[in-house]
Symmetry: C2
């Protein structure tokens, strides 16, 4: 049993008693494999086999068979379900009455097969809820925990014991990785197939495994996320303790969404995952190779203090390749101090390279490697080491590996990653390194990337606490009234003045705007606002106002305003003859500022995305935009803006004065509060959004808001 | 011997007789390893061992030892040199007299050790030239050819026989890859260590190997390129026959160059390699893993006709990962025709996915794989197949592998790439696949990328012939006169009017520009040009004219011109008090167009890079620029422009009229001719460069030209 009890899912990963429902003596059946795996896993609790043919079978693999779960004399923590789907509803009732805590439902034939299966799945979950049973699956390979130890799966083999937890939404991938990892020497603490995630999902397991002392890092393969907001909340905490590395498939389905706003058109479905992962400190692996390359490093090595790395090699070429990759991935080559250098000169040949990457030359012996490594890890300016070996005439593979292991044991707080380029000759030393918990890679770039992941995680782990959502003054009621009115009129698009009023209620700086419904009003209102004014068509049907001659700038007199009103209405009627609601927004003419776009787009999974970036004609071409998930903290809003290239423009270019960056950030925070307070906002676009010189604020010239149906 | 004689380097890669200079019975010595490798390589020609202690040694490994090369009774094609560097000059003389054709100089201690070594290297090359000996190296692992067969290296093992040639500037990397490849099952036709490249270099070998019938693809590890222009010329031809895939290290050293022009500041040293490789059809591998993943595919599979791929899997997850990667890499998922689909339905279970990626489900047997694969490769709409297998309960690894091999033999013209996710269970079938020449990868993304490389090469191989450099009318003499004058005055920076005149001489559209050297001239010239005019300071010392108040627009009268002249000169004197040559360029005021930047930067290796991209304040932020190598063909100039995001702007946005794209391309071609005709031009910048509406041309408002010292 686990010394330190798991807070959550403890009796699932470390049960005291397990029942295999549908246990079978037929070696081709899943019910046999599941029982066999549990029996041979080293599990120390009680195992019960359940099969209606109990009398006929008697015992399977030495385990007594019961006819029904009702006949089991003791309580059951975990039921491993292998019987056909159609029998599972009644089984759930039995399990409920028996007080079973967890059911790992291996059986397929649920949601993944269509509406019928989905119905069955819902029913099962309903019964489970009634009795408080928690379900893993259905449609899974199973659940394995090597520290319990227990193997509640029908996998052909067991994973090697280790300290990586792997959760996978694809059972087959899990099976493949299990098989591959045994050959590669990667060990696991837990191995969980998530299946259809009818009940327990990634968030539950990530939370539970964060408390598991046997797990150093959590790897996840995902196709979707069940509860986006909970996921973020949980991972924000977990990633301060352990790395969570996710490979999320389905990028290609993303494309751009069907959306009427600029913001929407620039938000791929996959963008949200990137933003969500960033927000909660999850590392996103680019591909499977990278995922497991990282696993190796996290499994065997400590988290470094910084990004200053020494690269040690016995050959120039691979050293340069490693250096290239290091710089591409944010690693810094540590400066070799004069003292360090003079020590190196004591034993390395004069032709060696004493700068970083340190080239000890082809003649370097194992001992040389050990001495350089010790000097490096003993140096305060060095956070970790990358060791490259190529098999040359005088190369000592085994001795070099020995030295790496020795130095790592002496300096266990600084990570070492090894790159042994070879196979036949270097094979035994590569095997030795892995056995001795030194990550080893066959190509320079892969090793460097793994080290970069350690450094990246150090940054994540130690990031400042950033939970405070600024509670800015705002008028919720006013906004509610406007939305209620819009909904009562069966509209989803707000009129220009309505949207401006919403923005105003949340303290976003906007020009004075009034809605004129006749040429007469146009004259009166523009006089009230003060010339010059801007006039813009307003109609729920007209999206691209400029294109139809619906926007007129620089109107200087009352007469001109009256005339322009007529013109705009005429243009609109020409292009949209069926439109009924036609009127004109009159706005004071704001000075021209630097043009940004800000906006928001609701994501059903994670909440609302807030966007900021370059506005104007370049918006769609350079797509220099950046996203954050509402509610934003101040730090997040700042980070968002800083990620754009436009930020450099805002700081002031070639003698220009800097723009009012803090007013932009303030606006982002206000938008974030608005869309967070009102999830009914489907899309919000402020375009153009002018930024003026520092201290002179911003102006939301045109606000567009669309509500959910 | 090779049936089809190699045009070049034939007697190096397929010699009739080889002498090992410095052959030794001491097993620790390179001279022993080199002799042993040649003897056991299966080499069918004559081998001579040379050592001054011939009498003492008699024979080594059954080969008679001669005291000197002079004593060898026959002619020698290839001498493998293992003696210390200091003895090599006199050896070269002996070899010359003996008529040795090639010398593979394994010995180190030359250029790589410093000035002394460099001197020695130059001397050796000089003697070699005198006698017509061609040198590989010095400082190499050696040269191996598995078809000869011959192994003139001191490598510990021989590579597996295969059809990939690998050239490496790092001998140690070569040794590592050799060792690694033996374990991975990758075979080679030639294995060449380039070393210091004192004589023969990458270009020589690429050219020679393009004629080698045993070589299907050429892989290269490079740190530098010796003869850039020849490299491009040769590779343009070779890549129409065989893929050339290069990993070029030293990206990180690139950074941005010290340069005074915009163009220069945006051109990293590594950019040139990208542009050069693109120009000649070389595929650049991003990292070593990718290089050898590609090697596998090129070694075993044919080049597809197009990019339409079928993905076949027995598990959803890896299928989605593969689909993601396919779309990221330009592969298209073939549409499964109704007929194809109805065939699939005959044998796959109804729950299978009949669209692409085809998911045959976990129950898929080897036979199912075979049937789907046959249907796919028999389909006209399919160019290749990616086959994914995960080890599930009913999975038949060996049978599936058998079927893949069988179908490949039936459809040898369409590539198959396999991805078997596993190690222990699937290990034997993975081994079987490789043995039977089916590329196999452990992770979906790696296999997909390899397939994408095949498709990418198909595009390169079949690209239209594009060799015609347009011979536009231009006035070379005029330019020569201007440059001569500038050089005679010991200047490198051209004055504004000089640069404008150079541009004009090459037919580049420029505003009328005159140089005023006094306020009086300013008045007269501006009247002559016609108001309004622009006035700009001109001085060899002043680079950022606007920043010091050296540029004034919109001057409307003669008096204003006289006054402005004084102002500009005063501003310049204030900021650059030591400047002597001060005058003012007067230009007619051109209408405002869309702002681009065009320019050129000389690269010592490859010639001149031409650049085009977004101009104005955004230039430095978005760096939306693209490069081409002079002399440009029309197609290349077009491609360059199309690669920028700005191109979309030029085509016309939201109802705007399109810009004069053909005038931009014409300008690029003229710049290309100019910098190609005059390699003395170090940097050229046209910024701003205005483009007007289609048919209305362009205007090179400000031309800056710097010549080489």
């Amino acid at each position: 049993m686990n010394g330190l009890a798991l807070r959550k899912l403890d009796k699932l990963l470390h049960p005291d008693s397990v029942a295999i429902i549908g246990a079978s003596p037929d070696k081709k059946k899943v019910g046999y494999a599941a029982l066999r795996n549990m029996v041979y896993s080293g599990f120390k609790g009680k195992i019960y086999a359940i099969n209606p043919k109990a009398e006929q079978y008697g015992e399977i693999e030495g385990v007594k068979v019961y006819k029904s779960i009702n006949d089991v004399p003791d309580s059951i923590d975990l039921a491993v379900v292998c019987i056909p789907a159609r029998f599972i509803t009644s089984l759930m009732e039995d399990m409920g009455k028996k007080g079973v805590k967890y059911a790992a439902i291996i059986t397929a034939g649920f949601k993944e097969t269509g509406p019928e299966g989905k119905k069955l799945e819902i029913e099962i979950v309903k019964i489970a809820k009634k009795y408080g049973i928690r379900i893993v699956g259905p449609n899974i390979l199973g659940v394995i925990d090597t520290s319990a130890p227990m193997n509640a799966s029908f996998a052909e083999r067991s994973p090697i014991k280790g300290n990586i937890a792997f959760l996978s939404q694809s059972g087959a991938l899990l099976a493949g990785i299990l098989d591959w990892s045994r050959a590669e020497g990667i060990g696991y603490s837990s191995f969980v197939s998530l299946g259809n995630k009818a009940d327990l999902d990634e968030t539950d397991f990530i939370e539970a495994l964060s408390e598991d002392q046997h797990t150093l890092a959590i790897l996840v393969y995902l196709e979707s996320i069940n509860r986006g907001r909970d996921f973020i909340k949980v991972c924000r905490e977990v990633t301060r303790k352990k790395p969570v590395i996710i490979i999320k498939s389905g990028r290609s389905e993303a494309g751009s969404r069907a959306a009427s706003s600029h913001t929407g058109s620039m938000t791929g479905a996959d963008t949200t995952y990137d933003v969500a992962f960033e927000k909660c400190g999850v590392i996103r692996a680019d591909n499977s190779q990278e995922l497991f390359d990282m696993a190796f490093a996290f499994s065997f090595m400590p988290i470094p203090k910084g990004n200053k790395i020494v690269i040690l090699t016995n050959a120039g070429g691979p050293g340069i390749l490693a250096t290239d990759e290091a710089e591409r991935n944010g690693l810094e080559l540590a400066i070799i101090s004069p003292e360090f250098k003079s020590h190196l000169k004591e034993f390395l040949p004069p032709a060696a390279n004493f700068n970083n990457p340190i080239d000890a030359l082809g003649t370097a012996q194992g001992e040389d490697y050990g001495r350089v490594l010790e000097l490096a890890l003993n140096d305060e300016g060095v956070d970790g080491a990358i060791v490259i070996l190529t098999p040359q005439a005088m190369t000592e593979g085994q001795e070099t590996a020995d030295e790496i292991v020795r130095v790592h044991m002496k300096y266990p707080d600084k990570p070492i990653v090894s790159i042994f380029i070879g196979g036949e000759i270097l094979g035994p030393s590569i095997y030795y390194l892995k056995k001795n918990r030194i990550p080893c890679y066959p190509h320079p770039e892969r090793g460097v990337k793994a080290m970069a992941a350690l450094v990246e995680y150090a940054r994540i782990k130690n990031r400042p606490v950033d939970n405070e959502i600024p509670d800015l003054k705002r008028n919720r009621n006013k906004v509610k009234q406007i939305f209620d009115k819009v909904k009562s009129e069966n509209r989803v698009n707000l009129l220009g003045t309505e949207a401006i009023d919403v923005a105003k209620a949340y303290g976003i700086q906007t020009p004075t705007t009034m809605l004129a419904k006749s040429d007469e009003e146009a004259g009166i209102f523009s006089e009230k606002i003060g010339f010059p004014v801007v006039m813009k068509i307003t109609s729920p049907d007209i999206v691209h106002k400029t294109d139809i001659g619906g926007v007129k700038l620089n109107i200087h007199t009352k007469d001109e305003a009256i005339q322009t009103y007529k013109e705009i209405i005429a243009n609109a009627q020409k292009h949209h003859p069926k439109t009924k609601l036609l009127a004109v927004d009159i706005q004071n003419m704001e000075p021209v500022g630097r043009e940004l776009i800000v906006g928001s787009m609701n994501d059903p999974q994670f909440g609302s995305l807030v966007m900021v970036g370059l506005g104007g004609i370049y918006t769609n071409f350079f797509k220099d935009v950046s996203f954050g998930l509402a509610p934003l903290t101040v730090l997040e809003a700042e980070k968002m803006l800083k990620r754009t290239k436009t930020y450099a423009l805002l700081k002031g270019v070639r003698g220009e004065k800097p723009s009012d960056i803090s007013a932009v950030i303030d606006t982002l925070l206000r938008i974030s509060l608005l869309v967070n307070d009102f999830p009914i906002i489907k899309e919000l676009d402020i375009n153009p959004f002018f930024v003026y010189e520092k201290g002179k604020g911003v102006s939301a010239l045109d606000v567009k808001i669309t509500l959910d149906q």
